[in-house]
């Protein structure tokens, strides 16, 4: 199959369509189709998942959206103008793709593009079309940019070359990969800029207190990026990511507290704890609402009215809780607390403890070994009779261990650390599933109310099913622990994180 040239050029500023057409019409009969104008609104989520995956979501009218992939292939979907979540789009390939790419995120308008496009054909002396072309005028504010695309036709390549020659005086630059993505890249779209405000650069011999301060400031900054989304209640991921960053910050403080001055701990610990606790309930409600479909699927149809009553109640509570959280995050109390944390973290290192002065990589490796061996001992004490709390404690330890690795992953041996993290993730999934059942049972129990008979029946049904699932999950916990804590894993930790001698965790 022949591959025919298709090229696009940007014209010099000030060149008009009439200039171009008069240059061409000296040798060709020009057939111009009526111009089409379009105003396209583009959408993406806060994390620009679509842009990063080379997709564009574009609203073409009040009822229709298009998802355009990297090759320009367009899939259309019907949805109302205010559709924001994947489940609000009608059943289609687009809906499935959005579910995969943006998950629970809302898609929001990021920019718009105004285009005037004209198709035209050039005919030779036999009145045969020998070259096809497309003019694109992109308008951003007052700035108009003209692009010209020429398409050669099979068997008529020499005419294409001639037209390209006639246009040469008007051309500013040849454009590779011309399309909507190219036109959007020409705009200054803040929404697709990387979100990280403060860059973090760690070195292995950086003193521990300095490293922790630098990292903590980034985490606090990252948490702050999600506040507006929580207040606006754009999607539930804003609160989730806000909490993840606060949790990581608290873990960092806790894991490396011996490298930090007491004043810093005194300033940050109670404030971060207060910030996190104020968002707990809203997160619990979000989790339960997100899992609504799976809960509904667990119960037979005769529990439907009770479950709907429960969800109405939870929906109402969420609304109240969301307002409460939004008020709090807009309050001076919150701003003062965050300001105090930021001010404390921004102070120069004071090196009040011996650990504060040590190179961070050395400290982290030692800490990782210590934590691993502590967890090994905790795991050894767990059996089929152990209380749920013991499993919960170990789950928290795994979380901290993974955080500690991930915080300093750039300083650690990449490949072997990656393998360890992948094993940690696997066991975290098992422990997390078990914990989720425990938490959900507790959460649902708190709603049992004798005055609401139907709702309480549905709750009892759900609790019974979840209890059954939890019981089935329990043996998996012990198996997963046995699978993780092997002699080989201990050797691997000792080797990767450089114990003085194998088995030495001091």
């Amino acid at each position: 199959m022949n591959s025919l040239p298709v090229n696009t050029w940007e014209f010099n500023e000030g060149v008009k369509n009439t200039d171009i057409l008069s240059a061409i019409s000296s040798e060709f009969d020009t057939e111009i189709n009526p111009a089409t104008t379009s105003s396209l609104q583009f959408y993406d989520d806060f994390d620009t998942h679509l842009w990063k995956a080379n997709y564009l979501l574009c609203q073409v009218n009040e009822q229709k959206f298009q998802l355009i992939d990297h090759s320009g292939c367009i899939n259309e979907v019907r949805a109302s103008s205010d559709a924001r979540f994947w489940w609000e789009f009608s059943d289609s390939k687009v809906k499935d793709k959005l579910q995969k790419l943006v998950g629970l995120r809302a898609v929001l308008p990021i920019t718009s593009l105004n285009l005037i496009e004209i198709d035209f054909s050039l005919r030779n002396g036999d009145q045969k079309i020998v070259v096809k072309g497309h003019l694109t005028q992109s308008m951003v504010g007052d700035k108009v940019t003209c692009y010209f695309t020429l398409q050669a036709l099979r068997g008529y390549a020499k005419y294409y070359a001639r037209v390209a020659q006639l246009l040469r005086p008007f051309i500013k630059v040849k454009i590779n990969d011309f399309g909507l993505r190219f036109l959007l890249m020409g705009q200054d779209i803040q929404a697709i800029e990387p979100k990280q405000g403060i860059p973090l650069s760690l070195t292995e011999d950086m003193r521990t207190e300095q490293a922790v301060r630098a990292m903590a400031i980034v985490m606090l900054d990252q948490a702050g990026l999600h506040v507006d989304g929580v207040i606006a209640d754009t999607d539930t991921e804003f609160l989730h990511q806000f909490r993840v960053n606060v949790r990581k910050l608290r873990s960092l403080m806790s894991l490396l507290k011996k490298a930090l001055p007491a004043t810093m701990i005194d300033t940050l610990k109670p404030r971060l704890s207060s910030i996190a606790s104020k968002t707990n309930k809203l997160r619990d409600l979000d989790v339960f609402i997100v899992a609504q479909d799976s809960y509904r699927a667990m119960l037979p149809a005769n529990f439907e009215s009770g479950l709907s009553e429960l969800y109405r109640l939870i929906g109402k509570q969420r609304q109240q809780e969301k307002n409460k959280v939004a008020r709090y995050l807009s309050s001076n109390d919150y701003k003062t607390d965050v300001g105090a944390c930021a001010a404390e973290l921004s102070l120069n290192a004071t090196f009040q403890t011996p650990m504060a002065l040590k190179p961070v990589l050395q400290v982290v490796k030692k800490l990782l070994l210590k934590r691993y061996h502590k967890m090994l001992a905790m795991s050894a004490a767990i059996n089929s009779q152990s209380a749920d709390e013991k499993i919960h404690e170990l789950r928290i330890e795994f979380k901290k261990l993974r955080y500690l690795i991930e915080f300093f992953v750039d300083l650690l041996p990449r490949k072997r650390t990656g393998k360890i993290v992948s094993e940690i993730k696997k066991i975290q999934t098992v422990l997390g599933d078990y914990n989720d059942y425990c938490i959900q049972i507790e959460f649902l129990n708190s709603y049992v109310d004798d005055t609401r008979v139907e709702m309480s029946k549905a709750l009892s049904g759900l609790i019974a099913i979840l209890y059954q699932k939890k019981t089935e999950e329990r043996p998996k916990v012990e198996s997963a622990l046995a699978y993780f804590f092997t002699e080989n894993m201990t050797i691997e930790f000792d080797l990767v994180f450089e114990a003085a001698e194998t088995g030495d965790s001091k």
């Binding site: 199959m1 022949n2 054909s121 036999d126 009145q127 045969k128 079309i129 036709l153 099979r154 068997g155 008529y156």
Partner: protein, 250 residues
């Protein structure tokens, strides 16, 4: 990829008009279509304003698919390409006579197009010859325009007999009435008799129409200059029927 030949051993029955309009509607329906003008008169190429190469290339036509590819030209319409005829195609029979396995030659070279095209339409010259036999073997469907007159009826009978004598599958033959003048009693009577005798006639008939003649003036398929004409409607319906028949082919 399917191959449809517009064939009749009789001239002036509407083969070229049918090839041009069917190829146009096939392309418009989304099929990547290649029209090969095998008739050295080059009428279908002319209707698409496509000129042949100045080189005499008929002797390379049956050698390899790559030789044909070089001569493909885009039409003015999306999805439709053309290999224009060349006067040297008048020598096809002499050329084929010199080949071993000549009957399979056309089928072999067309095979190369299957990756690129969904449909190949062959506009055939009026003869019954080595080339015609290559066409019968290469085609999935031999579309035969029949003017409902005594002479055309006789020609059609000859074609059926030729297929039978040479063991070519007669079910490839799909005739339809062309250039029909409904007011003529002879046309009506012939159509009735032939439809009763040959059940494979398509339902759609192409009327005798000045709009079809005007294709030469406008150098375009009927749809381009006479969208609302009866002739255009007839070609749309004919394509629908041919397309359905083609889909049934294994």
């Amino acid at each position: 990829m399917k191959v449809i030949a517009c064939y009749s051993m009789k001239g002036g029955v509407g083969k070229t008009a049918t090839s041009v309009n069917l190829a146009y509607w096939a392309a418009k329906s989304g099929l990547k279509t290649l029209l090969i003008d095998l008739d050295p008169q080059g009428a279908s190429s002319f209707y698409f304003r496509v000129k042949p190469s100045s080189k005499q290339w008929a002797k390379r036509f049956f050698n390899a698919y790559e030789n044909l590819v070089k001569h493909i030209k885009a039409s003015d319409f999306e999805n439709l390409d053309i290999i224009p005829a060349h006067l040297s195609f008048r020598n096809f029979d002499t050329l084929l006579a010199g080949f071993k396995k000549r009957k399979n030659r056309l089928k072999r070279v067309l095979k190369g197009f299957k990756k690129e095209y969904d449909l190949v339409v062959l506009d055939c010259p009026p003869s019954i010859s080595h080339l015609s036999e290559s066409i019968f073997i290469a085609s999935d469907l031999v579309l035969v325009p029949v003017i409902p007159t005594t002479l055309s009826e006789r020609t059609f009978e000859q074609l059926m007999a030729f297929f039978e004598e040479n063991d070519y599958p007669q079910n490839k033959i799909v005739p339809f009435f062309s250039m029909v003048q409904a007011q003529k009693s002879l046309h009506k009577a012939t159509m009735e008799a032939m439809s009763a005798r040959y059940k494979m006639f398509l339902n759609m008939v192409i009327p005798y129409s000045s709009d079809i003649e005007k294709m030469g003036v406008y150098k375009a398929p009927v749809d381009v200059f006479a969208k609302s004409s009866q002739a255009n409607y007839a070609y749309i319906e004919l394509w629908t029927e041919v397309s359905e028949t083609t889909k049934k082919l294994v």
